[in-house]
């Protein structure tokens, strides 16, 4: 009996010792760091979410293959929100409460981001959004950042270009979704700053299959240019229908046009379309000494060879979000969430796909108007407009 007890205690001690030993081994290698990502991989905003999810997977694989960050591997948890804010909210809660991630990348759309802005702030969870709306960082919430360029800067670029071309009377047409309606508001507010009159402003159905009636209406208004603020497929339809009814004025589109397949879907009709966009799509024609050139070319090459599809600016936003996070993790040294947050806020001159980021406690976007270029379509390919 006594022997048995002794034996039992002995085994217990050995088990404990082994347990401690293995624990020690693990902490020596450093545990993985969980990073959450919420993207609209399927559903109506999959044109944003799908390239974003692919990009972060590629990015994380590359980091882990190179030994991780300060010895920590990154464990990426990607969730598909299908662009529904209610899904996003519960996914965010999962990532915060169950997974206890270091930070959340995404979501893809502005509506979803606004749905979780307060939740993340209250939970002191770092959120780096890939959506464009300015409300995300204005007013500033200390844990919430965003990496795409500002909507208002896109509108300003359009009006600046119009002014150079001597255009003063325009039409604004937008789709009846969050992106379009917000765009119309921006355009109508900013137009007077540049002395431009919006002669007619119309909203059409986002699932429209033909828009010749709308452009026929515009044709009767004596306008000098059209601004269309929408996503696929309407943005190629507008280009086609304008040419079809013979409305021969310049067509400006939003930065949402930043995917070469939209230009191709428009065929010949898309040639000459003007739109403000980051430099990723024209990386190969940038001068060699441009600070973004090397990074853009590398991302483009990696993405296109791995996924066999053209790179888009939206995947670039996800790239930037992870870049901002991982650079901050490197600087913060240990993986404390508050220290990483402070490090993000102090990042200066960080070269990303959208531009060069200079964060500050007042500016959680860190980009200026210089992050955009005015692009155009030439023979089915993107080109810089000024050439």
């Amino acid at each position: 009996m006594r022997m048995r007890v002794v034996g039992f205690v002995g085994i217990f001690i050995i088990a404990l010792a082994v347990g401690f030993a293995s624990y020690g081994a693990e902490s020596g290698e450093r545990g993985p760091i969980k990073v959450g990502a919420i993207f609209a991989v399927s559903g109506p905003a999959s044109w944003l979410g799908a390239p974003e999810a692919k990009t972060v997977e590629m990015f994380v694989d590359r980091i882990n293959a190179a030994g991780g960050i300060n010895g920590h591997q990154i464990k990426l948890i990607v969730k598909d929100s299908q662009a529904k804010p209610e899904n996003t909210l519960s996914l965010a809660k999962q990532l915060i409460e169950e997974e206890n991630v270091l930070a959340i990348i995404g979501p893809s759309t502005s509506g979803e981001t606004m749905a979780i802005k307060d939740v993340c702030q209250e939970a002191k969870m770092i959120l780096i959004s890939c959506a464009a709306a300015e409300d995300i960082v204005n007013p500033v919430a200390s844990y919430v950042f965003k990496v795409p360029q500002k909507d208002s800067d896109a509108a300003r670029w359009i009006f600046k270009t119009m002014k150079e071309k001597g255009i003063s009377k325009i039409a604004v047409i937008v789709s009846n979704d969050g992106f379009g309606i917000a765009g119309a508001k921006q355009l109508e507010t900013i137009a007077p700053e540049y002395g431009i009159t919006v002669a007619i402003s119309e909203v059409y159905d986002k699932q429209a299959t033909d828009l010749t009636d709308v452009v026929t209406k515009l044709k009767g208004q004596g306008i000098q240019a059209v601004v269309n603020w929408s996503i696929v497929p309407a943005q190629s339809l507008v280009a086609k229908n304008m040419k079809q009814v013979g409305l021969d004025v310049p067509l400006f589109q939003s930065h949402g046009f930043g995917n070469i397949s939209y230009a191709r879907a428009g065929g010949e009709a898309a040639n000459g379309t003007l739109f403000p966009c980051g430099r990723l799509l024209v990386a190969n024609v940038l001068p060699a000494d441009h600070p973004q050139k090397a990074l853009l070319m590398e991302y483009k090459k990696d993405y296109e060879s791995r996924y066999n599809e053209d790179v888009s600016t939206f995947g670039g936003h996800a790239y930037d979000a992870l870049l901002v996070l991982t650079e901050a993790m490197k600087k913060a040294g240990d993986m404390d969430r508050d220290k990483v947050r402070d490090a993000i806020e102090n990042e200066k001159g960080l070269v990303g796909t959208a531009g060069i980021f200079n964060f500050s406690p007042q500016d959680h976007n860190g980009l200026t108007m210089d992050a955009f270029e005015m692009l155009t379509v030439k023979n089915g390919e993107f080109a810089l407009a000024k050439e």
């Binding site: 999959s46 799908a50 059409y204 033909d210 010749t212 497929p233 040419k243 079809q244």
Partner: protein, 296 residues
């Protein structure tokens, strides 16, 4: 509004209307045989268009469309065999709900087979900017293709349902399944055939409109809703009336746009649908006695 602009609005209405009409035709085929509305019709369109776009890379355009139509036809038959046939005495409502489920299934499958991207077939003749000019207004060549194909399909279907034994047998199944069976009609195969026929017609429609509307995996539902509205408007089961109703709705929408804010355009179809359902439930072009007989 000058003449050129009025004609331009007409052309715009015809463009949209021809799309509605060709979608509506597919609804009528299955309704003619089974009395059910197949809500997966929109998905048949997109499957057809997607398949032909993929095949187009290796085959010439007409052959790609032909093969796509055949593949979709088989898919239509398969849907019937797997989901509809086994429910022998299911109510019409239950079958309709099943077609809604099938539509979701096909849509998700398409998302996985292809992806979320927008594609389109090349214009059959000319390019996206070539048009025909009439009285100072322009119309895309592809619209003429849609109208032409609709006309041929409607004509062929009308002849088929009126004058061939098989067409009549299919119609008899909708009127009275038991009586048809007693007369020696193999009613089960007629239903399968009607699904195949409507899937094939849908695929053809999807291919013809693809250059205009472009094609994306989740585009089927909105197209189907408009097609359904038009099918009701014309009177279910009557393909010729569907074409007339499609053009009518298209023109109505186009002239609505000329007078009101574009944002109200989508309301037009819904208002028209409600009015028809309340005042002429058998459709604009059906004689009221016929529907009274059917109802009794």
């Amino acid at each position: 509004m000058d003449l050129a602009q009025i004609v331009q609005y007409c052309f715009s209405g015809i463009t949209v209307g021809s799309i509605y009409a060709i979608v509506a035709i597919g609804f009528n085929i299955i309704f003619n045989t089974t009395g059910i509305i197949n809500f997966a019709q929109g998905e048949f369109l997109i499957v057809g268009a997607m398949t032909s776009i993929s095949l187009c890379k290796v085959l010439p355009l007409p052959l790609a469309i032909l093969v796509a139509v055949l593949i979709t036809t088989l898919l239509g038959g398969l849907v019937e065999l797997v989901f509809i046939r086994r429910l022998r005495d299911a109510s019409v409502l239950r079958l309709i709900v099943i077609t809604i489920g099938v539509s979701i299934l096909i849509r998700e499958a398409m998302l996985h087979i292809w992806d979320e991207k927008v594609r389109s077939l090349p214009y059959f003749t000319g390019t996206s900017i070539s048009t025909v000019t009439l009285l100072g207004a322009h119309i895309s060549l592809q619209v003429l293709w849609v109208l032409g194909v609709s006309a041929v399909v409607v004509m062929a279907l009308t002849l088929f349902f009126r004058f061939t034994l098989m067409g009549r047998a299919m119609r008899s199944c909708a009127d009275d399944r038991m009586a048809a069976r007693l007369c020696g009609v193999n009613d089960r195969w007629m239903v399968t055939l009607s699904f195949m026929l409507s899937a094939g017609t849908g695929a053809l429609a999807g291919c013809v409109i693809s250059p205009i509307t472009q094609t994306q995996y989740d585009m089927g539902a909105p197209l189907a809703i408009k097609g359904f509205t038009v099918a009701i408007l014309g009177g279910l089961g009557n393909s010729m009336a569907a074409v007339a109703a499609g053009l009518l709705l298209g023109l109505l929408e186009a002239f609505m746009v000329s007078q009101l804010q574009v944002a109200y355009k989508e309301a037009v179809a819904i208002v028209v649908l409600l009015l028809v359902l309340v005042f002429r439930p058998s459709g604009l072009f059906a004689r009221s006695e016929v529907s009274a007989l059917r109802a009794s």
